[in-house]
């Protein structure tokens, strides 16, 4: 499926995905689909912009995703809405799956999910009977310790209703970061070379050794979320991480449990930071390599639907900056492995020749067709890529059959308790992208929102604590605290709080937990226990926030306009 197909779906199940805040351009497709009569089921603990225009809003309790998904599967099976022919011809493991979902009746799921049983029934019926039905899921699925299980759970729903392999159906991961699909495609993963070729397979390793003329490791590397532990707690000197080269990433802002991240960056012998502006990680770097921004360099991005797209240079970069690929080539050369590429196309051509599923995606074709969705195996102009990965229900397994995979729901790791009675989930806001290394330097976006950001809280909770809109509050978890502004809203449920993670002062990752999904190694950003405290002296708090902000800016060497007076 491709992003443009969203608007032609009969039914859209939007699960833990808030397009309006994370991808307004995808949200536009959802809005347009709605205008064309598409049914929308939105599963989200908040009233998002999509929830607002949906037919059914399943306002589930955070951390109950799999219970809801399994209950929908239970209804689809028990009410005879499953596509038996598709299940028989194209899948395996259905009977084992049925045993798992048997107990997930809507009545069983209701107290876990806080969604009325009849609403779950209504949603399951709508999803199963409206064709074609598409699923989009976002970080509200992925950023839990039970994440991969839920993705498989959503795939189960699409499999049992035959919603795979055609236009406007299937399940779409709408990614958390720009070009995260491209980073994975290019092998920026601990276990694979470009093109998802596993580092542990000897023939693959030998192919890359031959092409690059160097011996390569046959061991899986370290996931980014394991780095702090490998710096701080690794007993084996040989396994401990001593040097950390970070580019286009700001772990001192974006990673969970920032106190631990700072300790790790402090203890690490050598930190290199390569980015377009100074950021919090830069404060811990031994070396800073300034890179060019979008518009100043060329290359290829992959969008969420596996489509390779060209990005082009608009202006010549000014000052002492260079494109990432040139910096990497120079570092490599300096370390004894000369790289002499003339341009990005040369690098691309080397890569596609080593990756069978990308071989046909030449610059020429991407240019001519505007984009190519992989797999694209043949260089002839006729091979235009693969819009549907599992076309006609033929799956990328040995026997071409999809596998049902049922698991039981388990709760998040850190639950509400006497000391920390509320929950915190980190979210996005439109206007500021990711850690805002880019958007924080865009003046009009800064005019709309600036430090120290907001905590979204239910109006009843705010009334109980006598908190008004804009008031500075202290929010704490057992790992740390920060100060931010209170935003009372009826779009969130009582007991739950939400913060965006890009603010330097209102840095919600001071609070989040570094517990990970066992397969994806993604942290549980969407759930931890917290407490909100009123600050009596607001004048002090306002001054304090300004001082903290000025301090960080001064440390970063940002001209605050105050230097001349002092």
């Amino acid at each position: 499926m491709g992003i443009p197909e969203i608007e032609d779906a009969g039914c859209l199940l939007c699960f833990g995905y808030n397009g309006a805040d994370s991808h307004p351009i995808v949200a536009r497709r959802i809005v347009r689909g709605r205008q064309k009569g598409m049914k929308i089921i939105c599963a989200d603990p908040r009233v998002t912009e999509t929830a607002r225009i949906s037919d059914i809003h399943l306002q589930l309790k955070g951390g109950s995703n799999l219970a809801l998904v399994n209950a929908m599967a239970n209804v689809i099976w028990n009410e005879g809405l499953a596509d038996i022919r598709f299940i028989e011809e194209h899948t395996k493991g259905f009977d084992e799956f049925l045993k798992v979902i048997e107990k997930y009746t809507p009545e069983y799921a209701e107290p876990i999910t806080h969604v009325p049983a009849d609403e779950i029934r209504r949603a399951a019926r709508m999803y199963a009977t409206t064709k074609p039905a598409m699923i989009l899921y976002g970080m509200g699925v992925c950023q839990f310790t039970q994440a991969v299980d839920v993705v498989k759970g959503l795939a189960n729903l699409a499999l049992m209703t035959g919603n795979f392999g055609g236009p406007s159906m299937g399940i779409g991961p709408v990614r958390g970061q720009n070009n995260v699909q491209g980073a994975c495609d290019m092998g920026a993963l601990p276990n694979s070379y470009p093109g998802y070729q596993n580092v542990t397979v000897p023939e693959i390793r030998e192919k890359f050794e031959k092409a690059w003329g160097v011996p390569l490791s046959d061991k899986v590397g370290c996931p980014i979320t394991h780095v702090p532990e490998r710096i701080l707690h690794e007993k084996d000197e040989k396994k401990r991480i001593h040097a950390y080269y970070i580019f286009g990433e700001d772990p001192a802002q974006s990673d969970p449990d920032l106190a631990e991240v700072r300790e790790a960056l402090d203890k690490c012998d050598f930190v290199v930071m390569q980015d377009i502006y100074m950021n919090k990680t830069g404060l811990y770097a031994d070396v800073i390599l300034p890179a060019t921004a979008w518009g100043e360099n060329e290359g290829i991005y992959t969008c969420a639907d596996r489509g390779f797209q060209r990005v082009r240079k608009l202006i010549e970069p000014e000052g002492d900056v260079r494109p990432d690929w040139q910096i990497i080539a120079d570092i490599s050369t300096a370390m004894g492995y000369p790289m002499n590429y003339k341009n990005t196309e040369e690098i691309w051509n080397e890569m596609i020749d080593l990756c069978p599923s990308f071989t046909g995606a030449t610059y020429e074709k991407i240019e001519k067709y505007g984009g190519i969705q992989w797999p694209c195996r043949d260089k002839s102009m006729e091979d235009k890529g693969t819009p549907y990965l599992h076309k006609d229900g033929i799956f990328a397994t040995k026997d071409h059959k999809a596998l049902f995979y049922g698991t039981d729901w388990h709760p998040p790791v850190e639950l509400e308790n006497d000391q920390y009675p509320m929950t915190l989930s980190t979210v996005r806001e439109v206007g500021h992208y990711s850690v805002r290394t880019m958007t924080g330097n865009c003046r009009t976006l800064r005019n709309l929102e600036d430090e120290p950001g907001w905590v979204q809280m239910n109006t009843q909770d705010c009334e109980k604590m006598n908190l008004k809109k804009g008031e500075l509050v202290k929010i704490l978890s057992k790992r740390g605290y920060c100060i931010t502004r209170c935003l009372p809203t009826d779009r969130v449920k009582p007991g739950a709080t939400y913060m965006t993670y890009q603010w330097w002062i209102g840095a919600c990752n001071e609070l989040t937990t570094a517990k990970l999904d066992p397969v994806s190694n993604t942290p549980e950003y969407k759930y931890c226990a917290c407490r909100v405290e009123k600050i009596q002296d607001q004048e002090w708090a306002e001054r304090h926030v300004m001082e903290l902000y000025d301090d960080i800016r001064a440390q970063m060497g940002i001209d605050t306009g105050k230097g001349a007076e002092s």
């Binding site: 949200a27 912009e49 206007g431 009009t444």
Partner: protein
């Protein structure tokens, strides 16, 4: 008849691109070149979000504007299908703000002008349908979901005609339920 910009909450995704488009249109592109703290960011429309609603709110360009009636210095007038404020005449009395039933007027700093107490001059600020600027209202042009429309006399006439047609069809269905 005066025109006005209308937001459709079924299309709006609350992104506030309209507010930035508004400021850039009125301040001019120089705001991208000057010191970021030296210009005033005063959109003439405001995003309103409730539990189940997101939509920008702005001046309705009333036919008998309360703001115009209460202005003691005649700074508000009707020009080319819209109601505009002459910021040079405005004395900052806030009567118009008080009178407007839609909360469409606020006070803003008039860059480069100084008032009696030596501080920057403050004047009334509201939508002027991008009066005098080429291309029509900027908010309508920049909205990514086309949630904003400029409602003109013709537009309103068409909409009324569609509604009358629908009313007639409904009346017919009521008397002929079997068809």
């Amino acid at each position: 008849m005066n025109y006005f910009v209308k937001g459709n909450p079924d299309l709006c995704i609350g992104c506030r691109t309209c507010m930035i488009g508004c400021v850039v249109a009125h301040e001019g592109k120089h705001i991208f070149e000057v010191d970021p703290d030296s210009y005033s960011f005063n959109p003439k429309l405001h995003m309103v979000k409730t539990a189940r609603l997101s939509v920008p709110v702005q001046c309705k360009h009333c036919e008998n504007p309360a703001c115009m009636a209460v202005c003691p210095v005649g700074a508000i007038s009707q020009k080319d299908h819209c109601i505009v404020i002459d910021t040079d005449k405005c004395m900052g009395c806030k009567s118009c703000m008080d009178a407007c039933p839609f909360g469409a007027i606020n006070m803003t700093v008039q860059t480069g002008k100084v008032q009696a107490d030596g501080s920057e001059k403050k004047v009334a600020n509201k939508c002027d349908l991008c009066y005098g600027l080429p291309g029509g209202p900027a908010c309508v042009r920049v909205c990514p979901t086309e949630a904003l429309t400029l409602v003109t006399e013709e537009e309103l006439g068409d909409a009324m005609e569609r509604k009358r047609m629908e009313a007639a069809r409904n009346a017919y269905r009521e008397t002929h339920p079997q068809e």
